[in-house]
């Protein structure tokens, strides 16, 4: 896969570096020439200095053959234009835009941007695997009702290990919905008994997140 990342701030750098590590073909485009040295030292030769919103830059970057274009600059309007041009001018199949102002998320979708990700969520996903076991990680705040999806990997210190779901005192309006054991995912019921290493996904109102953490 050829993945072009536009914007060499923290999000773009991290994203590009991870994709390079995964063995993907990556190009990071950054507008500010003074950032080039830092970027090259962090992610290697896959850096191009230029304005990712300009058609000429897009051409020499090879937008035409890109499988994915991810626009992750700090400016929403730039991210929108990069994605729209990738789709409409170059026929890129998949585009992802970072949305800095969450109020822009809907209009991005309306204007044809495939993936719209708020910066917060990207960061959560990126750091997800680097957070030590046993912590509860909010995956996404759902739009309405302040419900969060959180996940937790159970350790020997987790109070829920060895217990059945019906015996765990969950905070109000919360529920454990799903868990991953080894390679298999399961929906839970009252008889589900949790084990060390289970990755548990729960829905919880934001205000009860810390209570959930205590019982999981």
């Amino acid at each position: 896969m050829y993945i072009i990342v536009v914007g060499g701030g923290q999000v773009g750098t991290y994203l590009a570096r991870r994709l390079v590590k995964e063995g993907q073909e990556v190009l990071l485009i950054e507008k500010d020439p003074s950032q080039e040295g830092r970027l090259r030292s962090e992610i290697g030769d896959y850096v191009m200095v230029g304005d990712g919103c300009e058609a000429s830059t897009q051409k020499s970057a090879g937008f035409e053959r890109a499988d994915v274009v991810a626009a992750v600059t700090g400016e929403d309007e730039d991210n929108l234009i990069v994605c729209q041009m990738a789709t409409n001018t170059w026929g890129v199949e998949r585009t992802v835009a970072r949305v800095n102002d969450p109020r822009h998320a809907k209009i991005f979708t309306d204007l044809g941007v495939g993936g719209v990700v708020s910066a917060t969520n990207i960061l959560y996903n990126l750091v997800e695997q680097e957070i030590s076991l046993g912590q509860v990680i909010p995956l996404a705040a759902l739009r309405r009702g302040n419900i969060e999806i959180v996940e937790s990997t159970l350790t020997s210190r987790s109070p829920s290990v060895g217990k059945k779901l019906r015996d765990i005192e969950l905070p109000p309006k919360s529920n454990i919905v799903w868990f991953l054991r080894g390679e298999e995912g399961y929906l839970v019921d009252g008889d589900t008994e949790f084990q060390i290493g289970d990755l548990v996904v729960a829905l919880v109102p934001t205000e009860f997140e810390s209570q959930l953490r205590e019982v999981m």
Binding site: A55, E77, L80, D101, L111
Partner: protein, 150 residues
């Protein structure tokens, strides 16, 4: 008509004055209150301070009742995003964006966004003047083929 302008630079301010003078109802949206000085006194242009990409600001400026929306900030992408919000979300009948990059303008014209590229306009008018040709309609100046393909 009821006209909203986003961006009180030289272009936006001049357009606001010209339209107000002709009796149209003009509202200027601008983030920097000092830039509103460019409007001058006595033209009766309404002003809203805020970001024209923000729907609350647009609605405060009366976008739901607007007949036309023109974006004249200095940022091409800001103008293109604002123009699309006006067109797609608020169904404003006449929408036009100032876009300095001719190639970007060409792409968005294909998507149905009216773009005016000031440098092409200037170059085309100078060309007509040099060659003693009559000034043509706007699309003649806005012709991106003059710049060559990407």
């Amino acid at each position: 008509m009821k006209l909203l302008i986003f961006g009180c630079g030289r272009t936006g301010a001049a357009l606001a004055r010209q339209m107000a003078k002709r009796g149209h109802e003009v509202t200027m949206i601008e983030q920097d209150s000092r830039a509103l000085d460019r409007l001058g006194e006595g033209f009766g242009v309404k002003t809203v301070i805020g970001d024209g990409l923000n729907e609350d600001v647009l609605e405060r400026a009366g976008i739901s009742e607007a007949d036309a929306f023109i974006t004249t900030t200095r940022g091409d992408n800001t103008n293109l995003m604002a123009a699309q919000i006006a067109q797609k979300r608020y169904n404003v009948a006449k929408v036009c964006a100032k876009v300095n990059d001719p190639q970007r303008a060409a792409e968005y014209k294909k998507l149905g966004v009216m773009c005016i590229t000031p440098n092409l306009l200037t170059a085309g008018m100078m060309r007509n003047w040099l060659l003693d040709e009559a000034y043509g309609p706007i699309d003649e100046f806005n012709d991106l083929d003059e710049e060559g393909a990407i």
